[in-house]
Subunit: 182 residues, 2 copies
């Protein structure tokens, strides 16, 4: 990932010159020049200063999609879903070839005993889903929930969470998460 290229692209998109951005940001134009040429790797504090002149947050800076793209597949037959299974859990992702996918939309099957692991998951974003068949145990923070067919959930992915199927029948789940981390 090329910080210099990103900065230059964003700066030009905003119609700023190096000197103009430098002045707004409170750094020198040479700093901008060197960052854009990747002849230095700026410190967090100076990159933040630079971005404040745009203005733009760190998150935005690193998540901006630079180059738009190509014609992509729209409909996926069941067998075309990409399999990103993890351990016992079967997970199939819709929209594999989609550039800059914003949603991770998954068809998941938890066989009896399947578990996302004793260590709780935490990551950015939000996630939601609905159980189609079977039953599933969901732990979020200190709360434990029993999900039955037809039940759904929605929570911030930053809250520690875990999915588990302690029952005898497989559980089938359709889920969506954003941003797409896969």
């Amino acid at each position: 990932m090329d910080v210099g290229e990103r900065l230059q692209a964003i700066r030009k998109l905003k119609g700023l010159s190096q000197r103009e951005l430098a002045k707004r940001a409170g750094v020198t134009n040479s700093t901008i020049s060197m960052i854009e040429k990747n002849s230095v790797s700026p410190s967090i504090s100076s990159l933040r200063k630079v971005l404040s002149g745009i203005p733009m947050s760190m998150v935005e800076f690193f998540s901006v999609e630079l180059e738009p793209e190509s014609p992509t597949q729209i409909v996926y037959k069941a067998h075309e879903l990409i399999d990103i299974s993890d351990g016992a859990v079967t997970m199939k992702l819709v929209g594999k070839s989609h550039p800059s996918r914003a949603i991770a939309f998954l068809n998941e099957i938890y066989p009896p005993g399947a578990d996302t692991g004793e260590e709780m998951l935490t990551h950015e974003g939000e996630e939601t889903g609905i159980v189609l068949e079977g039953r599933l145990e969901l732990v979020v923070g200190h709360e434990t929930f029993l999900l039955e067919a037809g039940d759904s959930y929605y929570f911030e992915s930053s809250r520690p969470h875990r999915f588990r199927n302690p029952f005898d029948e497989p559980a089938r789940l359709i889920s969506a998460a954003t941003p797409a981390n896969f």
Copy 2:
């Protein structure tokens, strides 16, 4: 925004010591120490090196939510889903009470003859979904697709689109769209 504090919080969440993380990241433990104490502002390249030992992306690092939270409903029984049906199409939304919902996650039923209308839909964002039962016709731009049970789709919502069920049996669909426009 406090880089040191974030790093420390994340590192501890992952159960890593400064030395352990340093080794994985290919930096020295003193670097980690000083970053966490905010006695330095690391360069982008070195912060990225550090994060690679977790592993975690820049975007994740800067967007992680450090302090939880508010008590909001997490699990929804089937009858608790909010009904936002539009015409003949039944749509039930997961996560009604969620603050700042990023995903519109819907359980939709298209009875025979149901149609989103002759005028094509266009709006910002992306949408995806999977057909569980029945068959459905999807038009995106100038292309028409036949979706059968198990088939899924993913496209930019800015492309004109339309859903229609010209068949004899109801079609059931789970869909996700972002941003959540409901």
